[in-house]
Subunit: 345 residues, 2 copies
């Protein structure tokens, strides 16, 4: 058994039995941690993402503090698309802004090619630095945005509630939509393979906002592109495929691919697992809002999630979405300890 | 057969066969209509809601223009809670703002009682005016926010993405949460009964944001309160119970009550109907974003929804949420005509 195979996370991702349920948390590195805020005070957000030493440090902070079973690379899903020439900026406190959103066939035609090495070459260096520091017992997860979620930022110009521009492009100019998705899917596969080559042992594809679509739209406008990303990845590296609000999309997400499907808190873990089928694992699915309350208030919820997994190999404990920035770090710590304690077999 | 019984909408709400599928649209009165914008230019939003003549005119505008099968009262779900003393304001272009959000046990204890007559007495007058003008073939639907959705505004202080304050109150101070929900449920039942007494022939309960919760939270923190509203309503008046993002909540919403369950576009209409059971009707469920594209692009979607209803009595056609303000009115017109044409039996 190689060192990699001995990590809890990779064993669970392959649906092998583990002595305890592995746990990591989306956005476990970030603003809720004082050591992150200290580093962030000295670097702009994009600069932090692009500086391998700093990004590696941010990646490692929660591993040291919390004892989670995986590190997730610190980066942003939009780094990859900077070369498109859409005017990406991280405005203070507002999240990403895209100054020249892509909303028509002509806008798509005007996009510059994505040179992956130039946009995210520094990320590969971060992966190498982290892997060098990390204990062999802790898995390093690489990640990228899935084509739909990245496209939604590129088309909306930032975060959105209703994704109206995205859907309008999809409905009125389907050929342009598919071209945009092809461009993103190709770059995403290259990006993830670069992370794998640099040392990532698993990768997560974040299709965070895909839950705005119904199943018919997903099947036609998203599935082929997500599938083409996942099929292009190096074999043998587990893929975690995640989205929120996906209760009605789960069988299609499974069809698109992934060894583990990420569930949000809206679907009971057992129902979600039934929807994706027994031949994949599941990751999730505590509501991140639960961590705002004291540990005594979320202990029963953690128990209920573990009970729904019923000790079946293939469950990776996580939140249903990222840690919120005003979460007390000691609550996060309590969660990690609780999962290990309550799942011990 | 009374005049009321002859309307398509009421017959469908009782699951009686109709010659065509009735159609109306959430937010069919509103900013996408030039005649609304003309009136709105002369009145503030709250003033428009509270002026019975103006509100009746806004209610009737889409009926005249579109030939929909129902009018829905023009009002706002937050009018009811103004007496709570939380500092409700409709800021220009920003939606509702609540200046003193309710986030603790002490905040809940401090709330003033809701005097329904003082907060929404003018709405009852609007109902009477509209009913007087409306053709007997067109049903008048009254409405209110469901307790959870209204509570979410009161606790968050406005619209929200993650509902963190709401969930924190729910988890850390459940007794205060239930007290707040009791207050809202009581006032809501009185409000809806007042609309019914004034002439509303059906009512819709909008639990628009309840999809942020998983089923366990819904069952414990929402269901008893929504049920108490619905049980307190005058018998014989159909209740439409609506929310978005509710794929995993549908059986529980049905348990809470309603003769018709509103579905959003994320769930295929037949799957949604199966989830709520054959002894209720369903309303929905075209994605409102579809109306931004030209009618040729949404015709197949409308056909697919009607095919999933399979001509079964009990389907009311609607969007999965409200009409977006930048929707071309002629697209809305095309939709209404299309539903009548394609569903003719």
């Amino acid at each position: 058994m190689s060192a990699a195979d001995s990590t809890l996370l990779l064993r669970a991702a392959r649906r092998e039995p583990t002595p305890v349920t592995p746990v990591w948390l989306m956005r476990q590195a970030g603003r809720y941690l004082p050591e992150y805020r200290a580093l962030r005070a000295r670097h702009g957000f994009l600069e932090l993402c692009r500086n391998p030493q700093a990004a590696a440090e941010v990646t490692l902070q929660p591993v040291r503090r919390l004892g989670v079973d995986a590190a997730i690379l610190f980066a942003d899903i939009l780094l990859l698309v900077e070369p498109l020439g859409v005017g990406l900026e991280f405005a203070a406190g507002e999240g990403p802004v895209i100054h020249r959103p892509v909303r028509s066939e002509a806008d798509v035609a005007r996009l510059k090619p994505i040179d992956v090495e130039s946009s995210v070459g520094s990320v590969f260096e971060t992966v190498r630095l982290v892997r060098r520091e990390l204990s062999p017992a802790v898995a390093l997860i690489g990640f990228a945005g899935a084509p739909f979620t990245v496209a939604s930022y590129v088309v909306e110009g930032g975060a959105s509630r209703d994704y109206l521009h995205t859907k309008r492009l999809m409905y009125e100019a389907p050929a342009a939509w598919h071209r945009l998705m092809d461009v993103l899917a190709d770059a995403t596969a290259t990006y993830l393979n670069g992370q794998i080559d640099a040392g990532a042992q698993a990768v997560q594809l974040f299709d965070s906002w895909v839950g705005t679509l119904g199943p018919d739209d997903y099947r036609e406008h998203v599935l082929p592109h997500t599938r083409s990303v996942i099929r292009a990845l190096r074999p043998g590296v587990p893929v975690i495929h995640f989205g929120t609000g996906t209760a009605t999309l789960l069988p299609l997400m499974r069809e698109a691919g992934g060894d583990v499907i990420g569930l949000d808190w809206r679907v009971p873990l057992d129902a979600g697992w039934a929807a994706v089928g027994p031949d994949v694992g599941v990751q999730g699915n505590l509501d991140p809002a639960a961590l705002l309350a004291r540990p005594a208030h979320f202990r029963e919820r953690v128990k209920a999630i573990l009970a729904r997994a019923a000790g079946r190999p293939g469950h990776i404990f996580n939140l249903g979405h990222g840690v919120h920035q005003d979460t007390p770090p000691e609550h996060v710590q309590a969660l990690v300890d609780m999962v290990h304690e309550l799942s011990a077999r």
